[in-house]
Amino acid sequence: MDKSMLGDLGSLPPEDQARMSKMIDQLQIRDSLRMYNALVERCFSDCVESFRRKTLDEQEETCVRRCAEKFLKHSLRVGLRFAELNQGAATPD
């Protein structure tokens, strides 16, 4: 998710900004790894139904690719809408 969604740091003293910024970086790394795990789980669950072979067949692979691409586009769109709502709701500090 976009860093700007996590808060406005402008009003803090520099050393606190640095610390807050590091914290946000850590959260973003964790979040993107979790997203990756969740995406794999979802696309695997939706696309892989048969366990008669140990490798993905072509149809499963295509399904997984589309699932992942769709999810990423979806996630981007949700981020945009979410940011708009967030801005509308934001009160001046």
Binding site: G7, L27, R42, R66, K70, K73, H74, F82
Partner: protein, 83 residues
């Protein structure tokens, strides 16, 4: 209004609360994303583009999810917006 708050609470607590707040936002965003994907996107995955119907469903889903978040926030009496 809250100009001199930092003197009242100690800094560790402020950072601790900021961290929880950010974790909360990330989790809200993730739950919203997964819920709206499940509600709006066709699971057959016949193509890799979102079609028009899916796109408008997503926009409305985000908007309604947001409203539910606010509505429940009011019920919980937090007195502040959920973000």
């Amino acid at each position: 209004a809250n100009n001199d708050m930092p003197t009242a609470l100690d800094k560790e607590q402020i950072f601790g609360m900021a961290e929880k707040e950010m974790e909360y936002r990330v989790e809200l965003f993730n739950k919203l994303t997964h819920t709206c994907f499940a509600k709006c996107v066709e699971k057959r995955y016949k193509e890799s583009e979102l079609n028009m119907g899916e796109n408008s469903c997503i926009d409305r889903c985000v908007s309604k999810y947001w409203q539910v978040t606010n509505l429940i926030g009011q019920l919980l009496g937090s007195g502040r917006p959920p973000m």
